[in-house]
């Protein structure tokens, strides 16, 4: 037992000996996690998100186009500014605006016609930055709602709408080919709209300028949403820092594991390795002590990061504490085994460093440590179940902000230990013990 403790103690002493490296190694994930945590909801999930910059080119100048612009400008998610076509195109190209909406000449009139009849629909131009596809979807949604509301409002209560009703009534009366029954129905419909407008005018006169008609808002969404974030319990707000600190911990611990592997690879080329191998120590002890020391280092990083997140950002372990500890322990072991595997299968230090950094970054990316996995395509999301970091993230999220019970930690713990075993077996089988 003396050699085992000495080996672990020596590794830890060497790790903590380089205080600058330890501080930087902790500071970097803390800074990044704080930044990502703020971006992805922050504390309480209410962090202010930036508005999407949208330019509007009004070539119509109608009541409808002005109403549409006012409607868009009133949306809390958009930052709407007027522009010209050339300036808007340049701004989108430079990335200064996410999209530009071109309202063409006669849009108001044509949209009105198309609203009641089968006349051809006018086109709204939409210039967009292809790197902002997610925001584009949002802009299109807001635009559809705004056009519908503005055009319907104008058609039912606006000046252009009344003119169009009168014009349509005249056309119905003069159309000799229209069947009598159809003519009657259309006259009733248009006459009804005209009568409604006249009644609203009377009401407005009675109630003064401030009077609001029931249809003055035009067609609107026939529902409202009530949003409720499902967290660990009622009145428990989502804390974006919980996920970001988990993600950064996972990333930097993996890098630590990678360093352990590279260090072992380099050690094998030194006299120190010869001295260790000349001592009466088993291979299990040499690799096992590395596993334990690397796991303790990983545990230390997790402890510091989550302690910081707890104190500064109020991240709490809302689920099973035992589950959290075991997920951390399983991930730490997996990282240590990952490091040993790198040392076992690595060739030259330089090549191994390159390959393993790539593998680590891919694991971190697919594990959802950078961006949530929901932005991945379906097939990729399914694929991530073979990535250990995905399970680590699921486990950490589950035990922190999701507030899940111990039973929910079992699957991540089991899978992480499975990966530990797999990596460990590969490491033991492939490790080159000779000094040649």
């Amino acid at each position: 037992m003396i050699p085992f403790i000495a080996l672990v103690r020596k590794d830890l002493r060497l790790f903590f000996n380089d205080r600058k490296a330890v501080i930087v190694g902790l500071l970097v994930p803390i800074v990044l996690a704080s930044f990502f945590g703020y971006l992805f909801g922050g504390r309480g999930g209410n962090a202010e998100t930036s508005k999407v910059p949208v330019l509007v080119i009004d070539q119509d100048g109608s009541d409808i186009s002005r109403g549409l612009i006012a409607q868009l400008a009133g949306d809390k998610n958009l930052d709407v500014k007027p522009s010209t076509l050339d300036a808007a195109r340049a701004a989108v190209r430079k990335g200064k605006a996410t999209a530009a909406i071109v309202i063409p000449k006669d849009f108001g009139r044509d949209a009105g016609h198309a609203f009641f009849t089968s006349a051809s629909k006018p086109e709204l131009g939409l210039l967009y930055d292809p790197s902002h596809n997610v925001e584009l979807g949002m802009v299109k949604g807001i635009l559809s709602g705004a056009v519908m509301q503005t055009v319907s409002k104008e058609m039912f209560t606006g000046r252009a709408g009344r003119e169009m009703v009168d014009e349509s009534l005249a056309r119905v009366d003069s159309d000799s080919q229209l069947p009598a029954e159809d003519r009657k129905v259309l006259r009733d419909l248009l006459g009804g709209v005209k009568e409604l407008n006249e009644r609203q005018d009377e009401r407005r006169e009675r109630e003064g300028a401030s009077g609001e008609s029931q249809l003055s808002g035009g067609l609107t969404m026939p529902y409202e949403t009530r949003e409720e974030a499902i967290t660990s319990g009622r009145d428990v707000e989502y804390n974006g820092y919980a996920h970001s600190f988990g993600g950064m911990a996972v990333q930097f611990i993996l890098f630590m594991g990678l360093d352990v592997g590279i260090a072992l690879l380099m050690l094998r080329e030194t006299g120190l390795w010869q001295r260790l191998r000349a001592a009466p120590l088993s291979r299990t002890m040499l690799l096992g002590s590395r596993t334990v020391s690397a796991s303790l280092m990983a545990g230390f990083i997790l402890l510091v990061l989550f302690s910081f997140a707890r104190i500064v950002f109020g991240v709490r372990i809302l689920g099973s504490f035992a589950g959290f500890v075991l997920v951390c322990a399983a991930f730490s072991l997996m990282t240590a085994a990952f490091g040993l595997m790198i040392a076992a299968i690595g060739g030259t230090v330089e090549a191994t460093r390159g390959y393993s950094i790539m593998a680590t970054l891919i694991m971190v990316m697919l594990g959802g440590a950078w961006v949530p996995t929901f932005v991945f395509p379906e097939w990729l999301r399914k694929l991530t179940v073979v990535v250990p970091t995905r399970w680590a993230m699921d486990g950490l999220d589950g035990m922190t902000w999701r507030g899940l019970g111990f039973s929910s930690a079992l699957a991540p713990i089991g899978v992480l230990l499975g990966f530990t075993l797999l990596f460990g077996v590969i490491a033991v089988m492939r490790f080159r013990w000779g000094t040649e």
């Binding site: 003396i2 050699p3 403790i5 000495a6 080996l7 020596k10 002493r13 060497l14 000996n17 380089d18 030194t270 006299g271 120190l272 010869q274 001295r275 260790l276 191998r277 000349a278 001592a279 009466p280 120590l281 088993s282 291979r283 000779g434 000094t435 040649e436």
Partner: protein, 311 residues
């Protein structure tokens, strides 16, 4: 104490060691002498259990090392050619760690560490980080680290590489002390003077094979000459040394600038003959001395190549 029998180690097409055999008794110092790449380090690595030979065996007090944890390994102390120390730790912390690898209890380890530091004259620097040590100090500490578990056999793989003459002498003094304590030393080197100074027997290895295994005196007997008469001529222009080979006592003759070196078997008979011949042939001289051929000459004689230039 130590028997090495027919060791062979092959890497692909390269035979690093081929049938190497020798033995070392209690308190004996064996020098493994050969150029770089001769197979010395491979031989030492096999003895230390770092490498498994393709054939042959290593017996330590009649026993083979059976496993990584075989207690027989405790009889061996290895001083690797590369520095095997942690620069970030103090000298004492390094030694404490290496003592723990052999499961030494705390009190015993501290005594061993104090003794080892005292031997290599580093007691006053025990609390300093190794990274602050000079190359020579590191080499001495590298030696101390192999002594903590009191091994009977010390494997020293070129322990003086890259150190200044003063530190080299200090290491020699340490090794001579260990020799006096009855330790068996296996010492690899490509420095002739080191082997000549320290070793009781010398095993010359070249291209993975033992080409000679004898005492220093025994190796000298392999030479065609046992003494060299060095004569500094007043005028060497036009002198033809090969003319001297007609003399029965003269085995070799060579001229380097103004110095004539004549090889003879028997100095007492050969010297008068050589000097008389020079006088009779009108060659005056101003200095005469005698030299013994060194291991460099032995290696040259056995391989036809200079030791330092060998590849």
């Amino acid at each position: 104490m130590l028997e090495v029998n027919g060791l062979t180690k092959i890497y692909g097409k390269l035979t690093a060691v081929s049938g190497v055999s020798f033995r070392a008794d209690h308190g004996e110092t064996i020098g493994l002498l050969g150029p770089n790449g001769a197979g010395k380090t491979t031989t030492v690595s096999i003895i230390a259990g770092l490498l498994t030979p393709d054939s042959g065996e290593v017996l330590i007090e009649g026993k083979q090392v059976q496993s990584d944890t075989d207690p027989v390994k405790r009889k061996i102390g290895l001083v690797p050619q590369d520095m095997a120390l942690y620069d970030q730790l103090t000298a004492r912390d390094n030694l404490t760690f290496f003592a723990a690898l052999y499961s030494l209890a705390r009190a015993k380890a501290q005594r061993a560490i104090d003794d080892a530091l005292s031997l290599v004259a580093l007691s006053d620097r025990a609390g300093d980080k190794v990274g602050t040590f000079s190359g020579g100090m590191k080499r001495r500490l590298n030696l101390a680290a192999a002594l903590l578990h009191d091994p009977q056999i010390l494997l020293l793989d070129e322990p003086t590489v890259g150190v200044d003459p003063q530190s080299r002498n200090a290491i020699f003094d340490n090794l001579e002390t260990l020799k006096k304590r009855g330790k068996t030393l296996i010492y690899t080197t490509h420095y002739m003077e080191e082997a000549e100074r320290l070793c009781d027997r010398i095993v010359i290895i070249d291209h993975g094979k033992v080409i000679a295994n004898d005492t220093l005196q025994g190796l000298h007997r392999l030479l065609p000459v046992t003494n060299i008469i060095a004569v500094e001529l007043d005028h060497a222009d036009g002198f033809k040394p090969e003319r001297m080979l007609t003399l029965v006592e003269v085995k070799s003759a060579a001229l380097e600038q103004d110095t004539l070196r004549v090889g003879v078997h028997d100095l007492s008979r050969g010297a008068p003959v050589v000097l008389r011949w020079l006088a009779e042939n009108g060659h005056s001289y101003h200095h005469v001395s005698s030299e013994q051929p060194d291991l460099e000459t032995v290696f040259l004689t056995l391989t036809g190549r200079s030791l330092r230039d060998s590849k």
